[in-house]
């Protein structure tokens, strides 16, 4: 590879995970994870339960601290970035939505931009309108979370994360807590987001989404990246035995 190609590849890289090690007490959960993510790339992370997928995502925004290895965001070690600043740059969407139940949708959206980014209230409200329109929930702006369906809650949670203008979005099984008929509306929002150029790391068991929206599938098992590649390759011709077994189980 010539020098120019290397440079441009490097500048494309927004997230780099090097030899990441994470322990909970004596339990080693991540055993040397390596991953490089390019700007605007959508990565789908799959793997057996307990393999360390959630832990990996949570290390990236430092909800968990790790014991070894390095994570770089846009070339800078995330340990060198103020943790609250880091979290405005790396948004996260949880399986359980975690909307704030004592606040309506608008309040859920505007709290953090106002308190963390010192955005004016007017500006935050305007931005909330735009994002709620984008996830198709403008009519629910004054609703409280308990009045929303699971799918609507998750779309609000996505809009809430987007309020901070993150450079990377992490999704930890965003549709696993949803009734089957509500999964589609959330995945549609995520597909749109991916097409709009957001960098996304998505832990999911939705293989349809992986096939359609992922640029790359990463298979994590036992705390390491077992295999990675484009969707066609991973889904049709997995190389590793573990990947094959996992896909057979999940697709049947």
């Amino acid at each position: 590879m010539n020098q120019q190609a290397t440079n441009s590849a490097a500048s494309q890289e927004i997230l780099r995970i090097e030899n990441l090690h994470k322990r909970f007490g004596n339990l080693e959960v991540l055993k040397g994870v390596n991953l490089s993510v390019r700007r605007a790339e959508t990565i789908v992370i799959i793997g057996p339960s307990g393999g360390g997928k959630s832990t990996l995502l949570r290390c990236i925004n430092r909800l968990e601290e790790y014991q070894g290895g390095k994570i770089f965001l846009d070339g800078v070690d995330i340990q060198q970035i103020d943790v609250n600043k880091l979290r405005t740059r790396v948004g996260m969407v949880f399986q359980q939505f975690n909307l704030f139940p004592h606040m309506n949708v608008l309040q859920n959206l505007i709290l953090a931009p106002i308190k963390v980014k010192n955005m004016s209230k007017e500006q935050a409200i305007e931005k909330a309108h735009l994002l709620l329109q984008r996830v198709g929930l403008l009519d629910k702006i004054y609703a409280f979370p308990e009045q929303l369906s699971g799918g609507q809650k998750q779309r609000v949670a996505i809009a809430r994360a987007l309020m901070m203008d993150p450079e990377v979005m992490l999704f930890d099984e965003p549709t696993s807590a949803l009734d089957p008929e509500l999964v589609g509306e959330v995945l549609d929002v995520m597909k749109n987001l991916a097409e709009s150029g957001m960098t996304m790391l998505v832990v999911t068991h939705e293989m349809g989404f992986a096939r359609d929206a992922a640029d790359r599938i990463v298979f994590i098992s036992n705390g390491v990246v077992e295999e990675e590649g484009p969707p066609e390759q991973i889904l049709k011709q997995p190389q590793k035995q573990r990947t094959k077994e996992f896909l057979r189980r999940i697709l049947e």
Binding site: R87, T88, K115, M164
Partner: protein, 216 residues
Amino acid sequence: MEAFYELLKNFNFLLIGAWETLKLTSFSVGIGLILGTFIGMGRLSRYRIINYPCTAYVEFLRGTPLLVQISIIYFGLPQVGIQLAPYPAAVTALGLNSGAYIAEIVRAGIQSIPRGQYEAARSLGLTHWQSMRYIILPQAFRNILPALGNEFITLTKDSSLASVIGVSELMRSGQFVISRTFQTFSIYFGIAFIYFIMTLVISRIVRYAERRLSVG
């Protein structure tokens, strides 16, 4: 008949004492709330230097009699150069005492909020304090309102101990009336009746507030 007459005649005087009891209790619970909120949060800190003193505080104040605590503050402290008038001494003792109980209530309230709420707040870049202030504590307080109401009721009754250091709250007012009329039965019974009405009203108010909040 005579007894009943004396009670009626002095009822206004007792009501003034009841009003003082209510003020004394409110001040004390106010102090207890502020103290209890911080100590309750401190009990959950992962830093020992914060956690241990808060735990020690709670254990000590819950493990010793309120009457002894009042005595330490009113009779004991002057020996080391801190002299408090009866009323401030009572508020201090009752406030410190309720702070310990409220700390436990607040701690349980915080623990009743799912961990995901705190993580979601932090994942948006809010600091620990911002997350507590805007996300965790508002939800926690909604949950612990009944327990706080109970604490207010307990303290309304316990504030009668302030009579021993001469604070003219309800109990003391009653004793004063007795010293003039010698009607021990009717006056003490009248005092009990007034305490009972106060705690009844407070518990109704708390229940009403609770229902209002759970709707919103």
